[in-house]
Amino acid sequence: MNNPYQPIPTKILDVIEETPNIRTLVLKPEKQIPFLAGQFVELTIPGFGEAPFTPSSSHFEREVLEMTIMRVGRATGALFTKKPGDLLGIRGPYGKPYPLKEFEGRDIYIVGGGVGLAPLRALFLALVHEINKYGKIFLRYGARTPKDIVYKKQLKEWEKIKKVDIDLSVDSADEPWERKVGVVTCLMDEIPCDVKKSVAVVCGPPIMMKFVTKKLLEAGFPGKSIYLSMEMNMSCGLGQCGHCRLGPYFTCKDGPVLTWEQIKDIEEPFL
């Protein structure tokens, strides 16, 4: 029986402390999860239930998956009690991946906020894996304070990659900080790519998504070139249970990444 509700047993190989309330779980599912950047999975926390997460690792490495998770509620709270060797379950992948074919030959302007960098890392790693297919890759990332920055070491490594341009900001600097201070839109006053031909990809807290989208539109990005990670209650992942309805869409099936063009008529799309 092909049972879409059945999770695959998955061992936690490692737990990486990213920030005081964000961790990356390194997971090895018994069977490979054939995800592509942008797709998500349902993670079973035995006895607690399921919650949707987007892998933050590259889809070119599927033996081991990484999920970067912020502690916000009941399920993520339970995940924070887990240690290497513990068992979780995974089912998926679900949703639509980033349309990388359409990104080819274009500059890609990525804007992340807080833990929103997690799904963007899967995209970023997929892009740099085949960097010759794409134009320049710009990454603009903002966190609350320097302590809240995820993937600190990797960001430094990524800055060395040719054709990659990274800029960071923090809302407030409570320790020495050489980059910009301000919300992430402060990094967007000058957008160094041809906005009509480029692609923008955004993931972060709703308020950040709202203002970044506004800024991107003002800069001249067409709505169909702005890709937004939408947060809804994606429960079954199959496009059936109804919980993640966003206007005419089921976020789990039609998203979780939707373009501004798709959602612009929905009242308050950002929660």
Partner: protein
Amino acid sequence: MAIYFLPNERRVNWLARLAGGYNLFIPVKAGNGVHWQRFDKEKVDLDSLALKEIRAAEPIKSFLFSPRERVALFPEPLEEPADGNPALLLGVKGCDLRGLAVHQKMFLEGEFADPFYSKRVKETVLIAADCPEPKDSCFCNLVGLKPYAVDGVDLVLSVIDEGWLVEVVSERGAKLIEGENWQPAAERQINKRDGQRQQAEGVLQQRNPKPLNPNLPQVIAERTNDEKFWAEAAKDCVECFGCLMTCPTCFCFLLYDQAKGDKVERTKVWDACYMAMYARVGGGANPRAKFLKRFINRFHCKFMHGKNQHGFYFCSGCGRCFTACMGKIDIRDILGRL
């Protein structure tokens, strides 16, 4: 398709024969309404058999889209469901089939088919029965349906004075009438059936003469932010969710896990989009925290997205929603004002 006749005196024999191969369920008169009941050949009471009456209180989805079902175990997976005695529902109404159409779209036609639903739908035998006596609560004519089924079932049964007529729809249906003394129906009998059907359509037309706005999806989209309109429509709602729990087309479900020793059991239960926490996300944000938004969402789902995406309203015109409603909110009144 071929039409056959069975005289009244042979009905019990045929029912007993059906019950021999299937879990036979029939609609019976009980209290003020009609309810599904398992056929018991030891206690046959044809007077309580409600084939001419309108749909039962319980939608047929109760048999197919289970109200509560175990769908997974962890870490060892759930085994394939065993083959049981399949159900046969005798007396399915035309309106019931709209629910079936919605669920087949939602649960079978996407990328991921629900194996439990799929198995049950394939196995369950459906015999429709005409609705010659529509009631005040019926409005199937407004949502593009008729008071009788023509397809989507195995047999279509019509009650006439001297016995039952069946029209064979599927091969499986043809087998159901083998071995019993079904005779080819006479033209007079078929005319009688057709007359009853026309009369029922006339009654519905008389009760619900004003068709729905042909641009209903567009109108609902435009009036989405008309809070005054929706607040007035919803003013008597006590949020009991009775409308959604009796609705034959509602498809929402909830998955929840329970620890059973060192195992986890995953259960799927019916859910309702009127529930306050229905759309809440892990971090606590809730796109439809206000009830009015949830009330409007129901109209979006049934009369806008359903029609735009699948070509038909996610409503069967069965009237269960306002029959169950404590506030007596008649959906026809709301639709009529749009």
